[in-house]
Symmetry: C2
Subunit: 412 residues, 2 copies
């Protein structure tokens, strides 16, 4: 008897018909003799609808109250899915994040899971029940309802899988798996049979939108095997796991594009120790994720520092920057929300020199100007004008022959 | 500085505009120097919409999962109302039933409040905050989300007022107060300035639909003064309190009509001790409220027992009856969901003989047949055909001259 965690996203439970289809899929897994824990997101557009309702009331609703509001979306989903499973004659119970005791820090709207208590889960599983858990939500040490940010249900699922020692964590979504590029942009993009955690992490962070980056981190940290697949068909999806000791057939696994990027440039920063620490420390204190950071020395003792944040964090980041530049005596700052980040990812990159140069050449050929560059061992990212994003992804997909690679099982 | 509990029903927070109006009313009360605890129901039709959604999934959704689903309605309301109050620049915090720790028994869909913990409430009030509490919901000893049944937010409000020792519990609704009869049926019905707990209790139980009966019981038990008034205007409403030692000017205070009634008749019940206890004990064990009970001896050693339950409980009651009649050896049973209960209520009735006879005469004059009769010290109820309900209420309102009584301050 295996323990399987399944996670269904919002499109998978968008309406009553879909909800019933998910119930049947869960039931099948249970009837095969598995213990099943299901994590479910809010239905379809309910989260967006609630956000819109909140905006009609307040332009800046407190994040604590937004969490209070948004957590209801998942609670409705678990109740409805439990009802649907019960009609199939199977024992089932739904649990909210607080009921499971998914303990988070107290950062509203982007809380991090600190601990998952397994007592209640184990008790229900041992009683033979299918357990439906609300994704995206938890409870802080001082009894506050917190949410994990967009895509947080993935993290809930992986955290439960890790805490319970599940055999696999199946992430059901509206696409068949992880692709070499976004199939909506690149029709010839191919599905990957498997991919390593690190590659997935880069792709997830880079806007592939299949998995929340935090969930991949968790999965890597606890060795949870992920299976990303569609809830709309029975096709096998993409396995995310540790592809150890395998020959890399391809230098580049996939191309990602992130439109949720804004750039902030601070100029005339005094060249003395502690300035960067002060700036990025202040941003971190407000839980603003900074992605790329580029520092360049101009003339004399003053530097320019550029960095990117999520576009939704821009307003808050600017407030912090304004405060810090006053304190450290920088000359000023600029912001640009009209950028995009395109990236190539591949564990094979380490042993294939010249991959970055090949990327820059492909972009240059399309006359796309590169604004910022950032590299890691397994990815190269470039910030470019947003209008050129699709063109860039197409060019890179072609340059690295990813259409041909699709049939290969990369990472296995 | 007074502590005031305000409760707003679903129509009072039905849309964004109404929500903002409620926020301003709460703010006014706070700015007058009061500590304010606000209990709020689900917005407008959201509860009905969720029930409909559940029915699309399951004809018999488990009550536990219905509670899980329905509790989200109030949670959305508290978050939105807190946002609206925050935009007015006042400190505010919303709390779910579990967060307050409104402890209930574990009976889903009709839980009873066992205890209200005041620690969190007091802490927030002492920090100067307006506290918004989700009505209708609580948490059982074993961490299950439970709801208090329709109208349960009234009970939440009164329980909080009792636990906190509030000066008054204001119940805001879509009508101006308590009327001598339902103004939608009897246009000449008049608003009562005040009414005693007992009268209100009878009226509430009898389907006046202004307050949940349980909330009036609570208010009486803990001496909480209720003020029933409209959230749509500034008119004073009806005070519900202990009208002790006052001369009753009227024998009858109001006429109520309850359409949520179903009759069950069991015939051929063996005339031996314990049979009724067995029957009504079984119904109570399933938390089915039995209202009127009439037993009549027919020929020999067998009786007929008739009783009424809420129409929504009929199905469950029949299941219980089927089981019990087999065990005790009764001949059979009938059900009738086409009935209504009309009642006259008035604390003055005790000292005014002949009130019941006057009621029967008024109904007879309209050729309305009486099916069952039940009396208490301050009310007389008759079960009649549902089609005749409106006619009966009109006739009784006229017979007891309640239209003229409206200007009098009954009960003061």
């Amino acid at each position: 008897m295996a323990l399987i965690v399944q996670k269904y996203g919002g499109t998978s439970v968008a309406d009553v018909g879909r909800m019933k289809a998910v119930a049947r899929r869960v039931a099948d897994c249970y009837r095969e003799g598995n213990q099943v824990v299901v994590v479910v997101s809010a239905r379809g557009d309910t989260t967006d609808e609630m956000i819109e309702l909140a905006r009609q009331i307040s332009l800046h609703p407190p994040e604590r109250e937004m969490d209070m509001l948004l957590a209801t979306g998942e609670q409705q989903s678990i109740a409805l899915l439990a009802m649907a499973i019960q009609t199939l004659g199977l024992p089932v119970v739904s649990l909210t994040g607080p009921q499971v005791a998914i303990i988070t820090d107290g950062v509203h709207a982007k809380a991090r899971i600190i601990q998952v208590q397994t007592e209640r889960l184990t008790r229900e599983l041992e009683a033979g029940k299918i357990v439906i858990v609300a994704g995206f939500q938890g409870i802080s040490g001082d009894n506050e309802i917190t949410t994990l940010g967009r895509g947080g249900s993935d993290t809930t699922a992986v955290a439960l899988a890790a805490a319970l020692g599940a055999e696999v964590c199946e992430i059901y979504t509206d696409v068949d798996g992880v692709y070499t590029a976004d199939p909506r942009v690149i029709p010839e993009a191919g599905k990957l049979t498997s991919i390593s955690y690190d590659e997935m992490l880069e792709l997830a962070s880079l806007g592939a939108q299949v998995l929340q980056p935090r969930s991949v981190e968790f999965a890597k940290q606890y060795g949870v095997q992920l299976h990303v697949r569609s809830s709309f068909n029975q096709n096998p999806g993409t396995l995310v796991w540790e592809g150890q000791g395998m020959e890399r057939e391809m230098a580049v696994t996939g191309v990602a594009c992130d439109l949720n990027v804004a750039k902030i440039g601070i100029f005339g920063v005094p060249d003395r120790p502690g300035v960067a620490a002060r700036l990025f420390g202040s941003l971190a204190a407000r839980s603003i994720n900074v992605d790329m950071i580029v520092q360049s020395t101009t003339a004399g003792e003053r530097n320019d520092i550029s960095f990117t944040v999520g576009r939704t964090d821009l307003e808050q980041a600017v407030a912090t920057v304004k405060q810090v530049i006053g304190e450290v005596g920088a000359s000023g700052f600029t912001t640009d929300a009209g950028v995009a980040k395109v990236s190539i990812v591949g564990a094979g990159m380490i042993t294939n020199p010249g991959v970055a140069a090949q990327m820059f050449a492909a972009l240059a050929q399309e006359a796309i100007n590169i604004d910022m560059i950032s590299t890691s061992e397994i990815k190269v990212s470039c910030v470019i004008r947003q209008e050129a994003a699709t063109q860039a992804v197409r060019a890179l997909h072609r340059a690295f022959r990813l259409g041909e690679a699709a049939e290969l099982a990369v990472g296995t």
